[in-house]
Amino acid sequence: MQGLITAFAGTVIGVINALFGAGGGTIAVPFIKRRGKRQKEAQASSIAVILPLSTLSAAVYYFKGYFDIGDALKFLPFSVLGGIAGSFIMKKISDKALKKAFSLLMIYLGVRMIFKG
């Protein structure tokens, strides 16, 4: 049964990564935590899972001509800096408020995307 749930979770993570290019971690982290890992371990393992999947997805998107590398490279350094900053923030600030604000933003943006003409 455990194996079946893992298979399902893993498959969903892959579908989300390929189809949306983001958000797979939101399935991975809770799933891994329920397997008994602590928050930090779950996040670390989640990133380790999403990394190869994203690499494949990025390659597929690139070869399908969906995006231009030059465009991506403009944003890349800032994303990397954000990732580094995030790993420092994680230790210091309680992220409850951040999560609430973030979740409200997501809902708002999501609704707008659904109803955009």
């Binding site: 893993g10 498959t11 892959g14 390929a18 393992s45 994203s54 994303s79 995030g86």
Partner: protein, 118 residues
């Protein structure tokens, strides 16, 4: 490359490293404010994630925070899921993909909003 774009990518990196689905922020920003198509925005975000995650993964693995037994099966099944995802990606019109993505964002937001513990 203006300051807001830099900030959007930066914020996305922060949220992404917290397992909060931060990449979605960059995808939305690229579509709404930079005029990229859905798939272009997703592709750019995917590429940006690679170096962002690579350094973190190396450090986490050295500190023994990652667990092979957990990671490997998920990656293997994930690859199967990705294959299915790519097939869908080929067939879905961009408008449908956008709405699905929007629905996904709403679900994520609701899930976070109502999650009790850290």
């Amino acid at each position: 490359m203006n300051a807001i774009s830099m900030a959007a990518a930066f914020l996305s990196g922060i949220l992404g490293s917290m397992g909060l689905g931060g990449g979605t922020v960059l995808v939305v920003y690229l579509i709404r404010y930079m005029g990229f198509s859905q798939t272009a925005a997703q592709g750019i975000n995917l590429l940006c994630f690679i170096p962002t995650a690579l350094g973190a993964t190396v450090i986490y693995t050295k500190n023994k925070l990652t667990d092979k037994k957990t990671v490997i099966p998920l990656v293997l099944w994930g690859l199967i899921g990705s294959a299915a995802g790519f097939l869908l990606l080929d067939k879905l019109p961009e408008e449908i993909l956008r709405k699905l993505f929007g629905g996904f964002l709403v679900m994520l937001g609701l899930k976070e909003l109502f999650s009790k513990n850290r």
